[in-house]
């Protein structure tokens, strides 16, 4: 009897467990959509987003208003009558100094500065980064250290020496001079970027290619380059935004007829003749900022992947 009763209690205990198994927690733990945690999290994110979007909103609406509406002073109200007149004026008619052909001149100047600077600086930096990572030579570490120090010296210190240097080789005030300056000043950070990326690739790949008989350039073009696309995108974004947004070099090293877009924008916005055309200024600023913005939107995903690529074994 005693045995049977213990058996029964054991069975009852087992039932209790199996009941719990049937009704108890199972699978993924449910989460409430409006938990305090989510409200805090998304609340903060939304406030932060609004804070940064508000100025952009003001710029866009102002640029779409006519001057009478701007003078009414309601900067947050949407335009009652949408007009693209300020955009056209900013692009093609706004005056800076003697020229009255708008920002378009600066835009094309910037493009002519941007393309050679980006291409040359990335080409040179990727090869030197590859050489520093894989073809160590006597003093290569010292060379690399000096290069890194170069990345941390403020540009302003070097302005005057560079002006003299450009004058001496006869390219001061020309687009060529500015392209050279951008190419050289982009070098330290880009070389660092490429060297670290190539150093993160397994060294056996390089050894295997050498045993297969490939030389310096063959390894670079056929083995390393195809593996380095993410870092090329990163370098491209850094250089495009950096060079496009540059103001200091543009204003120091060029003459008015070859001013880049940023310098021209400054001259339009800061010119003090007659009425301040806020709508034209806003449109001009948006036009100038469009290129880096588009680059970010198009390649932002690749950018993040490239930055992280160094950490992941590929």
């Amino acid at each position: 009897m005693a045995n049977i009763s213990t058996l029964n209690t054991a069975a009852a205990g087992f039932d209790a467990v199996s009941d719990q198994v049937a009704t108890g927690p199972r699978g993924r733990k449910p989460r409430r959509t409006f938990s305090p945690r989510n409200i805090m999290l998304y609340g903060t994110l939304i406030v932060a987003a609004l804070y940064y979007l508000l100025p952009l909103y003001v710029m866009v609406v102002t640029s779409l208003k006519g001057m009478p509406e701007v003078r009414m002073g309601n900067i947050f109200s949407p335009p009652m009558e949408i007009t693209f007149e300020p955009w056209v004026k900013a692009w093609a008619e706004a005056c800076t100094g003697l020229n009255c052909d708008g920002l378009s001149r600066g835009f094309w100047n910037s493009v002519r500065i941007l393309i050679p600077s980006v291409v040359v600086s990335i080409a040179v930096a990727s090869v030197s980064g590859y050489a520093l990572a894989n073809w160590r030579f006597k003093g290569s570490e010292l060379f690399f250290s000096i290069l890194i120090i170069g990345a941390f010296i403020p540009y302003q210190v070097m302005l005057y020496p560079v002006v003299i240097a450009l004058r001496e080789i006869g390219v001061y005030g020309t687009l060529t001079g500015l392209v050279i300056v951008h190419t050289i000043f982009g070098m330290p950070i880009l070389t660092l970027l490429f060297r670290n990326y190539f150093a993160s690739l397994p060294v056996e790949l390089f050894k295997a290619a050498r045993i297969d008989g490939a030389g310096f350039w063959q390894i670079y073009f056929r083995i390393m380059l195809p593996m380095a696309l993410p870092i090329f995108v990163v370098a491209m974004i850094l250089q495009v935004t950096g060079i496009w947004n540059d103001f200091l070099f543009g204003v120091v090293f060029t003459r008015p007829d070859v001013y880049p877009m940023t310098v021209q924008l400054n001259n339009i916005v800061n010119s003090v003749q007659g009425v301040k055309e806020y709508n034209v200024n806003m449109a001009a600023t948006l036009l100038t900022g469009a290129v880096p913005l588009i680059v970010y939107f198009v390649s932002g995903r690749l950018f993040v992947r490239g930055i992280a690529a160094g950490a992941v074994k590929g």
Binding site: E204, I211, D212
Partner: protein, 369 residues
């Protein structure tokens, strides 16, 4: 004239090779002759210089001093591609953006070999390694074993005299490792190339090698065939490095008893009958007796000789065999017996040493006597 022909050629010869990274000496005055068609394994723990030596042979590292000959040609200053070598790496080092076929043919395309010759050689290598169905795939779509096969194929297509393997199986799981080990051995038997193989795995070394070179801090400790290495280790380092579970070492001294030299430890004497000494055993000398677990006999295995009594300390059944840890003369020693024979902890057993397979090492120099 005829004499010249009959000389057996060395495939790879290393003369007084030294390599130092700054003040750190990795290799010092190393000499090594590898015979034509030989499978030589460089064995050692990490940091002993075995991979460095292999990289020097491949031409990927420049030696500080010394010479390297491959096929009786001084290649010390040659580029890796001109040395007639193929190399297989631990991490496979396949070019990720190329298909298997392109990976195999890369070296040939760089060397501008005619297209039909490339196709022929790739097909042959793929046939030998049975990777024909994988030729169009990218390395990322292959398993570890398949990748390593492709890596071996890349060395194969180059039609070289000497294959260099740098721990090629270390990244594979245990089952694949033993499979590929057998395949490598088969490959060597059919190709009859010289192969130099770096590993830290003693099983790979013992199973694959014609000769093993055991290295420690840049110096070759012993260069011999696996059986000699296992049974006649030249010093205590080699003895302890090879064998799992490792050799039992009993520190003691030589003594004289009844006109014979015996080994004595903690007051217990062991007869040395059957031991083949390479130098006279003088009483009073401090020595270490080394005996492998399978060279100590227990109970019914004893075939005569001096019998001692010991107590079972721990029993480790390992399936095929059973490892007993026995307490005797103040030492604990491991003994390998058949897997079916079981002993209770604390029980008494009789044990005898097979002195013909044991080793005596000088306590100071650790050299075998």
């Amino acid at each position: 004239m005829h004499d010249v022909v009959s000389i057996k050629k060395n495939s790879v010869s290393i003369r007084d090779l030294s390599l130092a990274f700054g003040s750190v000496k990795v290799l010092e005055n190393l000499n090594l002759d590898i015979r034509d068609g030989e499978f030589l394994v460089l064995l050692g723990s990490s940091g002993c210089g075995k991979s460095t030596l292999l990289n020097c042979i491949a031409g990927l590292l420049e030696p500080t001093d010394g010479q390297i000959f491959i096929k009786d040609r001084n290649v010390t200053w040659e580029e890796p591609k001109d040395r007639g070598i193929g190399m297989v790496f631990q991490s496979y080092a396949l070019y990720p953006q190329m298909s298997v076929e392109k990976n195999l043919s890369f070296g040939l395309r760089v060397a501008k070999v005619p297209k039909d010759e490339i196709n022929k050689r790739v097909a042959r290598a793929a046939g030998i390694l049975q990777i024909e169905p994988l030729l169009k795939r990218k390395p990322a779509e292959l398993s570890g074993g398949q990748r390593q096969r492709v890596a071996i194929g890349r060395a194969l297509v180059r039609d070289v005299d000497v294959f260099l393997f740098d721990e090629p199986l270390s990244n594979l799981d245990a089952k694949l490792r033993s499979e590929l080990r057998v395949e490598l051995k088969r490959l060597h038997q059919s190709l009859k190339n010289t192969m130099i193989y770096v590993t830290h795995d003693q099983i790979e070394a013992l199973t694959l090698a014609d000769r093993i070179a055991i290295m420690k801090s840049g110096v070759i400790q012993q260069l011999d065939d696996p059986v000699t290495i296992y049974n006649r280790p030249r010093n205590q380092f080699v003895a302890g490095f090879i064998g799992s579970p490792s050799m039992n070492f009993l520190p003691g001294e030589l003594a004289e008893e009844g006109g014979k030299t015996v080994f004595r430890t903690n007051g217990v004497s062991f007869s040395l009958d059957g031991y083949e000494a390479s130098e006279p055993l003088t009483p009073g000398r401090k020595v270490t007796l080394g005996a492998r677990p399978e060279h100590i006999k227990v109970d019914s295995d004893i075939q005569g000789g001096e019998v001692h009594e010991a107590i079972v300390d721990i029993e480790e059944p390992m399936g095929a065999d059973n490892l007993l840890w026995l307490k005797h003369a103040g030492h604990v020693m491991s003994v390998r017996i058949g897997g079916a024979r079981r002993y209770a902890v604390g029980s008494k057993v009789r044990l005898a040493f097979d002195m013909s397979m044991a080793s005596l090492f000088d306590a100071q120099t650790e050299e075998r006597l």
